[in-house]
């Protein structure tokens, strides 16, 4: 087996490449040793072939390494070739958790927006529909107790609902913030430990495309309800405050999905086969 002739402290380029390939493979990769052994055989065969044709050893080594492919690409193909049902389920669960966190944050943002709308346009803009609902005497008493400044049962119900709309949504946003911190911490830890075997399991544009569709449908639905509510003067703010964050999330996810579809970012499609 040929060794590439190097001098001084210059490392053998093939050894250096194999080190980088090993580093690119996730820890615990099954058959990693076999892959590295085959890679080394392949590279040294390629060097021998080239040297026998008169190519200088170092040039032959660098050419063989270039043809073998960047360690990141080889490692990614390796990960993708070993996809299992459990890995797909794990990745889907992680994506679902991430989308749930984003959804909760969007609800929180809608709460903040609802608070702004309520301050700017009054509680009628948020829940005017409740002024026309015939509540029972018992519920009216409850609303009046909760909103002592109200002069009628309907007004008390409206004020209470407009208040609740803000607090409940902000509460959901707070849960989302906690979830984001926990999820972010777990993700950083997973990456620090090199547990990235499931990262490439799903097509890169899939999750952002699903998210964009879900948030887009939500935004469209809330907008239509808001328009209907504006026409009937029943408090469009409760819907419009939800439509805006949903639309922003849909556009953001849509942009990511399109970029990954068009540019191939994160998909590795331009250089990966066999997965």
């Amino acid at each position: 087996m040929s060794r590439v002739l190097t001098s001084g402290d210059v490392p053998d380029p093939i050894d250096d490449y194999l080190d980088r390939l090993l580093a690119a493979l996730p820890p615990g990769t099954p058959d990693a040793r076999r892959l590295l052994a085959e890679a080394e055989d392949h590279l040294r065969d390629a060097v021998d072939d080239a040297v026998s044709r008169g190519v200088p050893p170092d040039d032959a080594a660098f050419a063989a390494i270039a043809r073998f492919g960047p360690p990141r690409v080889v490692a990614r193909t390796w990960r993708r070739s070993r996809v299992t049902t459990a890995m797909v389920v794990t990745r889907l669960a992680r994506a679902g958790a991430a989308l749930a966190v984003v959804g909760l944050l969007a609800v929180g943002a809608s709460g903040a927006l609802a608070a702004g709308m309520r301050a700017a346009a009054g509680p009628e803009f948020m829940a005017n529909n409740l002024t026309r609902v015939p509540f029972s005497a018992e519920r009216c008493a409850t609303f009046r107790r909760l909103e002592p400044s109200a002069t009628t049962c309907g007004q008390a119900a409206m004020l209470h609902h407009a208040h609740e709309m803000v607090t409940v949504r902000l509460g959901a946003g707070a849960v989302g913030l906690v979830g984001a911190v926990v999820f972010g911490g777990l993700t950083r830890r997973r990456r620090r430990l090199g547990h990235r075997r499931t990262d490439d399991v799903l097509p890169a544009p899939l999750v952002p495309a699903v998210a964009a569709t879900a948030f887009g449908l939500g935004a469209a639905g809330f907008t239509l309800l808001g328009i209907d509510s504006a026409i009937g003067d029943t408090g469009p703010g409760q819907y419009l405050s939800a439509a805006v964050p949903a639309a922003i999330a849909a556009v953001a996810f849509g942009a990511v999905a399109i970029r990954r579809l068009v540019v191939g970012e994160g998909s590795g499609a331009s250089a990966t086969v066999g997965g």
């Binding site: 055989d41 193909t77 990966t272």
Partner: protein
């Protein structure tokens, strides 16, 4: 030929070059390059995961052996691999004939 154009065809290509002639990884890739006239320009390192995947699927088998005095992992087609190759060849021939008829070139 760009790598993504080979997607979906790599298994057929690998099974074909192993048909009747077991080979180690470097020889498999050399055969691929030679038979395609150098048209298949793909990162060679990505062929090994594909070979291992075919092995897990039971279409090829491999074992360490000695080739030209050196220890090598040699791949060979299994019975299931030969059957899969025949099926995929038939599917490819049908597909290629259809495409050729549409684009107006002689069937390969």
């Amino acid at each position: 030929m760009r790598a993504e154009q080979l997607k979906g065809h790599l298994d057929l290509l690998l099974l074909s070059v192993l048909d009747g002639a077991p080979a180690h990884g470097y020889a498999v890739i050399t055969r691929l390059r030679d038979r395609s006239g150098g048209a298949f320009d793909l990162p060679e390192g990505t062929v090994y995961p594909a070979l291992h995947r075919l092995e897990r699927a039971g279409l090829v088998t491999s074992e360490w052996g000695s080739v030209a005095g050196r220890r090598r992992r040699v791949y060979a087609l299994t019975g299931a691999g030969a059957t899969a190759l025949a099926d995929r060849r038939a599917a490819w021939t049908s597909f290629a004939s259809g495409v050729s008829a549409v684009v107006g070139v002689a069937t390969p």
